[in-house]
């Protein structure tokens, strides 16, 4: 009985999320129609441009990698009620650190590539410790602090590549990394690289950590109810700091994987806002490591398909950011995050009763 209830509750979340996404796309279609663009045409090119042939498909998949890894970074924090909006900055610093390790040392591949990825993790994780400290010991809201810390990270990396590090070629970027620090392509002559396996590995590890270890359990308990967790003897502050560190480290990894798999150097301003997209990806993915990959595919497809769409129609590329924003708004309206915590709580029945009647309240309001 309990299992069925759990399952139903889980399905309800999935259901409401899908509805939220569909509604968001309906609003986008409406907006396109109002501005005199053809929504059907837009969605046709979006799908064709993202899944239409092997090349487009591999392009889509290559964009899924940073999105899903960064999405996992966000969910690792969010599970412990740490809203890390600083993934963009952590990702940039991770990418820069990994690129430096990638070009500065000479090592065999078996060591060089992992070392470079670890450098990315370290940079992102350490940077995330600043808002972690601010939140746990100084009571500074982490959304505020993490967003603000994105600006110095951006300026710092820009400064490093334009003024401090040597430049090869015309674009502001670090020198190319060694062959030994690069991922191989999974499908030759495409952009789908070995970072794909890292993405799968990160999802599996995140799942194992959260679901199968006591530390993961404690992180989730903190996310659900801090006071209750403290009452049960869980070191709340330590777990939040850990969640922040892991979130930042994975964000840094997302940046490192982009360097090792795609650009082979730190390219100034290479991230098209993966850090901010990661929030949408994680929320649509129901804060589930595997759900994040699926929702990452959706947003990866959007980012890829938009290129074709912008070529063949008169619809601007900014549509992607717009869709992201509308989707988050709808998801937020569905209180999905709040619900996401519920299924993990010990006394599920009590919690689920509190949240299922959400629909009734709506009726109450509408009258």
């Amino acid at each position: 009985m309990k299992k069925i209830k759990e399952f139903a509750l889980k399905q309800e979340q999935l259901f409401t999320t899908i509805i939220a996404v569909i509604l968001a796309f309906a609003v986008v279609a409406l907006l396109l129609a109002i501005t005199g663009r053809h929504p059907g045409q837009a969605f046709y090119y979006l799908i064709k441009g993202s899944f239409g042939d092997t090349y487009n498909f591999s392009n889509t998949m290559s964009r899924v990698i940073p999105l899903a890894i960064a999405g996992t970074a966000f969910l690792l924090g969010a599970k412990a009620s740490v809203f890390n909006v600083g993934i963009e900055g952590q990702l940039l610093l991770g990418a820069l650190a990994s690129a430096i390790v990638g070009y500065i040392v000479q090592l065999p591949k078996a060591i060089h590539l992992p070392l470079m990825l670890l450098a990315g993790c370290a940079a992102g994780g350490l940077y995330a410790l600043i808002p972690a400290w601010l939140k746990t010991y100084r009571k500074v809201n982490e959304i505020l602090s993490t967003i603000m810390l994105n600006y110095p990270a951006f300026h710092f990396t820009h400064y490093m590549v334009t003024k401090v590090l040597p430049i090869e070629g015309v674009v502001p970027a670090t020198p190319f990394i060694e062959e030994t620090a690069r991922f191989r392509m999974i499908i030759p002559d495409t952009r789908l690289h070995g970072g794909f396996y890292v993405m799968i590995l990160v999802a599996v590890l995140a799942y194992l950590l959260l679901q199968k270890t006591s530390i993961g359990y404690e992180m989730r308990a903190v996310g659900m109810n801090k006071e209750a967790a403290r009452f049960h003897g869980i070191p709340v502050e330590k777990r939040m700091v850990l969640a922040f560190f892991l979130s930042g480290a994975i964000a840094g990894l997302a940046g490192a994987v982009e360097v090792a798999g795609l650009h082979y150097r730190f390219l100034d301003q290479f991230s098209p806002g993966y850090g901010y997209d990661s929030i949408t990806v994680a929320m649509v993915g129901l804060l589930n490591p595997f759900g994040v990959i699926i929702s990452g595919m959706m947003f990866g497809a959007l980012k890829t398909g938009i290129l074709d769409m912008a070529v063949y129609t008169e619809i601007p590329r900014q549509l992607v950011t717009l869709i992201n924003g509308i989707v988050v708004l709808f998801i937020a309206g569905k209180s999905i995050i709040g619900k996401g915590y519920q299924k993990l709580v010990e006394d599920k029945e009590i919690e689920s009763e509190k949240h299922v009647p959400a629909k009734d309240t709506k009726k109450e309001v509408s009258k």
Partner: protein, 317 residues
Amino acid sequence: MNLGEIIQSVFTLTLLYSTIRISISILFAGMGEMITERSGVLNIGVEGVMLLGAWAAAIASYFANNAWIGLLAAAGIGVVIGLVYAFIVVTHRAVQAITGLAIFLLSSGLTGFLLQIIFEHGGNSPRVPTLPMIHLGFLENVPVLGQIFNDQSVLMYPALLLPLILYFVFYYTPWGTWLRAAGENPKALAVVGVNPITVRYFAIVAGCLLAGVGGAYLSISQTSLFSENMVAGRGFIALSAVIFGNVKPRGVFMACMFFAFMDALQITLQAVVPAGVLPRELFMSLPYVLTLLILAGFIKRSGGPADIGNPYEKESR
């Protein structure tokens, strides 16, 4: 250039003039957010509301060829966003942090998209008509004050009066009492016959309206065009000012002025200090780093409303 010369060329009356100039948008947004937070609702999306306000102001000003219409449009879009936000977080009790974040993310996409649709090129809008600058004849002969307050935007006057007005409203009117009660103890407010939901709606809408105006100032007064993401963190700085100022008119006013001063200082230093000595990027990061340092060091938790961030739920009937 030695240190003495640098200090001399930084600390001038122009620095204070810039402080006031920069403070206007932060004051509007900060005062607005203060009203919202006093009622017990956090709006992380101030930055987004400002951006939408800046956008609406520029577009309306461009097409109506009248900056006042632009200002009105910014206020209008603020009200609309406020109603949407209130509907989601007050009526439907969604997580305020996430919803605010959504407004921030949405604003950047929406303004960029519509800018491209309307003008067929991204980045910037064309030049738009701006609000008048006020030059008072009698101030001309007043030393110091004349140089600081003359030739500022017409919006400076409401911006500087706002803290005073709000101080009066907060502590000497029934509205202020209701507002503070909605943030401290909404159930008690309901007992005396005032609906906390209504109060929070008004507080959110007022906050967003002011944030919209703060954004409008950026696009139709401080500059004369809209450019993508032109708010550049000012909304978050306004949010910090509200926390730093303990959600009280005097405190928030001081905090806004302080942050504005820091920003003015940063801009001046950028121009004065040779790039070889200290990098520009350092100065550009300064406002954010400093804000965080201040929040970390001086924060007092006693001043905020007790019920902040919590949705108000009626007793079941």
